[in-house]
């Protein structure tokens, strides 16, 4: 139900336009959350709705935020992160609000909720192919932020992709913090040292699926490169090439892209058009929901192989393993 206090809470609201709430953690991870937030702000500049912004760094108030969105009269509530699956499932009485849950496991069905999944393993597979093709040492690495399934999923795809090119390739992996300890997403110091250990051990491409800690990996790729040995880093979620400093750009081979912003923007558009339906939406290579970036042009010479691999996945001739 919509409470009478909404008006005082919403001074800038145009009472006539529909309200869209986005529930998310905190921006500034240079990847997943930032991408989602970009979708939200992009939509605001092109579409006509009242945004309700619910950000919280806490890990235990998903339900509160959802309830708040409903009570504030949101017509659409978009939850960023699989953690919203359970609260949305448990909230049954919301006749005036539609729910979208972003980054839900593929195959999850929640009544009355639009669930969006991303085939992160597919994009990881492709950057794995790119890594194997680029590596001169036959040795690559992976730095994961937190040892949890969503991150393991990146690794599984990455390794499969690399092995598809070079079955003997060595793939190092390190997770910066164990399951449940999220410091691994914000500790660039550790990211840097983990990457340093890999580059020193012979790896020349390192894939960083580590949120803010990735910054350390990118820095290390640049600082550990020498005249004789060029080290590469691969970014994740957004196109990292566009985010890092000029001095580091030459070392960003590619990024595994997860178009969370597109998912968010499309959902809002569909909601405003009245075409948003509950049910599952899969963002994968086939609909460009995930992909890899080519900024910098470092992969130009391998574009044929990469496109072939991509097509094989879309066609289903190659099935990428997953960890989730």
């Amino acid at each position: 139900g919509c409470s009478g206090k909404t008006a005082t809470v919403q001074p800038s609201a145009d009472a006539d336009t529909p309200k869209v709430a986005m529930l998310y953690g905190t921006t500034g991870d240079f990847s997943f959350m930032d991408s989602a937030y970009k979708g939200f702000t992009d939509a605001q500049s092109t579409l006509d709705f009242t945004p309700l912004d619910f950000s919280s760094p806490n890990t235990d108030d998903y339900q509160d935020r959802l309830d708040l969105a409903i009570s504030q009269g949101a017509g659409l509530a978009i939850g960023i992160g699989f953690q919203y699956a359970t609260p949305m499932e448990q909230t049954t009485d919301h006749p005036d609000t539609q729910f979208v849950a972003v980054d839900i496991d593929k195959g999850t069905e929640i009544p009355d909720v639009t669930t969006i999944s991303f085939a992160a393993e597919q994009s990881s597979y492709l950057v794995g192919v790119a890594a194997a093709l680029t590596s001169k040492t036959g040795h690559i690495g992976f730095v994961g932020g937190v040892d949890q399934p969503s991150i393991q999923n990146f690794f599984v795809g990455y390794e499969a992709g690399a092995k598809s090119v070079n079955p003997d390739i060595v793939v190092d992996k390190t997770y910066l913090s164990p399951l449940g300890d999220f410091t691994g997403f914000s500790d660039p110091t550790k990211g840097k040292e983990a990457a340093a250990s890999m580059y020193a051990g012979g790896a020349d491409v390192v894939y960083a699926a580590a949120g803010g800690s990735g910054q350390g990996v990118y820095e290390q790729a640049a600082s550990s490169s020498t005249d004789t040995q060029k080290n590469w880093a691969i970014g994740v979620d957004g196109d990292v090439y566009n985010q890092v400093d000029e001095s580091i750009k030459p070392f960003i081979l590619t990024s595994a892209i997860k178009n969370v912003n597109v998912a968010v923007e499309d959902s809002i558009k569909a909601f405003l058009d009245g075409t948003l339906e509950p049910g599952e939406q899969d963002f994968d290579l086939s609909n460009d929901g995930v992909g890899y970036s080519t900024s910098g042009g470092f992969l130009d010479s391998y574009s044929d192989q990469l496109e072939k691999a991509k097509q094989a996945i879309i066609d289903g001739t190659v099935t990428v393993p997953t960890a989730v």
Binding site: V9, F54, D103
Partner: protein, 372 residues
């Protein structure tokens, strides 16, 4: 007597006012309107659903505060509460989901298991302190990190249930979950969790043990003067162990409201830093069982009501800034009121003496009396 009550009330009130003042300064500095922020927070905070949520969220904070206070009264700084409740919550989630017993048996056993596991985790720093002379602060910090890893390993390799991104234990059915105490029925989600009862019981036990039993007395003596304690036949080492065990046992319960009442499983959504907020509650309430309850409620209220700030383009961090500041201002507030009280006591005494004429000097000064 009236002065005592006035002082007791003045402390928290001055604290809150100070915190408001400081937060206002920050908001103004940031170019925001503090008044509208407070108005929005207040309006949202006093909605029935918010009040209910405040009560429910205050429970773990209260438990954390009591856990810290239990050790603090023995002069021990149990900075390992986080690790203790983390391990215990995992154990509780597993027991609550899997024990094939009816609720009335399963629930108490779950609580008990959590207490035991929490106490066990606290035993390590206690034993190291007693037998190795290692400060409990350092071992507790280490045990926190180790708890995270142990839980991660157990969760990933032993207790994980289901697949996908969710890494939780098996879902706890209604036969294992904490039932609601009462449903106020005044809107969405206005049920008060049964954990309120647990918190009240823990608070009463804390009060009785610490303030009313001989055991509590021996703890106090051991904390304030180990030598005198030993001479009086109180084994300080044992008190250290008991105090840490008690603190750990209470700490073991902190994660349960979330596990048995919100997530119905142990997973990544378990709040990770309740210890510091709980400690804040303890400090706000001066480690007193009732004071801590007020402290926990205030903090939970601020936490809840600040969720709304994002809606008015105000940074939600205002809530955490306020909570942080209130922690300090509580100390300052008590300091101010105590000073004022001492002054008043002195004036009163002088006035009394003047009116009563010359009397033999009394060795105990009223100022000292009030400083307690």
């Amino acid at each position: 007597m009236i002065r005592r009550i006035a002082v007791a009330l003045a402390g928290p009130i001055v604290s809150v006012l100070l915190a408001l003042l400081v937060t206002t300064l920050f908001l103004t500095f940031g170019g925001y309107s503090a008044a509208s922020a407070y108005e929005v927070m207040w309006n949202y905070g006093i909605e029935p659903a918010s009040l209910v949520s405040t009560v429910n969220n205050a429970v773990p904070l209260y438990l954390a505060g009591v856990a810290a206070a239990f050790a603090l009264r023995m002069g021990l700084f149990n900075i390992g509460v986080d690790g203790q409740y983390r391990v215990a919550a995992l154990a509780g989630a597993v027991v609550a989901a899997n024990l094939p017993l009816p609720l009335w048996l399963r629930l108490p056993i779950t609580l008990l298991v959590c207490c035991l596991v929490g106490a066990l985790w606290a035993l390590v720093p206690a034993l190291l302190k007693v037998y190795r002379g290692v400060s409990e602060v350092i071992t507790s910090i280490l045990m926190n990190a180790i708890a995270t890893t142990v839980v991660a390993i157990l969760l990933a390799h032993v207790f994980r249930s289901g697949s996908g991104q969710n890494t939780g234990t098996a879902i706890i059915g209604p036969d294992g979950a904490m039932p609601a105490l009462i449903d106020l029925g005044i809107g969405n989600r206005t049920t008060i969790s049964g954990f309120l009862v647990v918190a009240v019981v823990v608070g009463i036990l804390f009060y009785l043990i610490q303030y009313r039993t001989v055991f509590g007395f021996t703890l106090q003596v051991a904390a304030r003067s180990p030598e005198a304690a030993e001479s009086a036949g109180i084994k300080v080492n044992r008190r250290i162990i008991w105090a840490m065990l008690g603190s750990g046992a209470i700490a073991g319960l902190i994660g349960l409201p979330h596990v048995l009442g919100t997530a119905f499983r142990f997973d990544g959504t378990l709040p990770t830093d309740l210890m510091f907020t709980g400690l804040a509650a303890a400090l706000l309430g001066r480690s007193h069982p009732i004071g801590m309850a007020f402290g926990a409620l205030i903090l939970a209220f601020v936490e809840r009501s600040s969720q709304v700030l994002g809606l008015v383009q105000l940074p939600t961090e205002v809530g955490s800034v306020f909570m942080a500041v209130i922690l300090l201002s509580s100390a300052v507030g008590y300091w101010l009121t105590e000073r004022a009280d001492q002054r008043i006591a002195l004036w009163n005494a002088i006035r009394r003496r003047r009116s009563a004429g010359p009397t033999p000097p009394s060795p105990s000064t009223p100022g000292l009396e009030a400083a307690r």
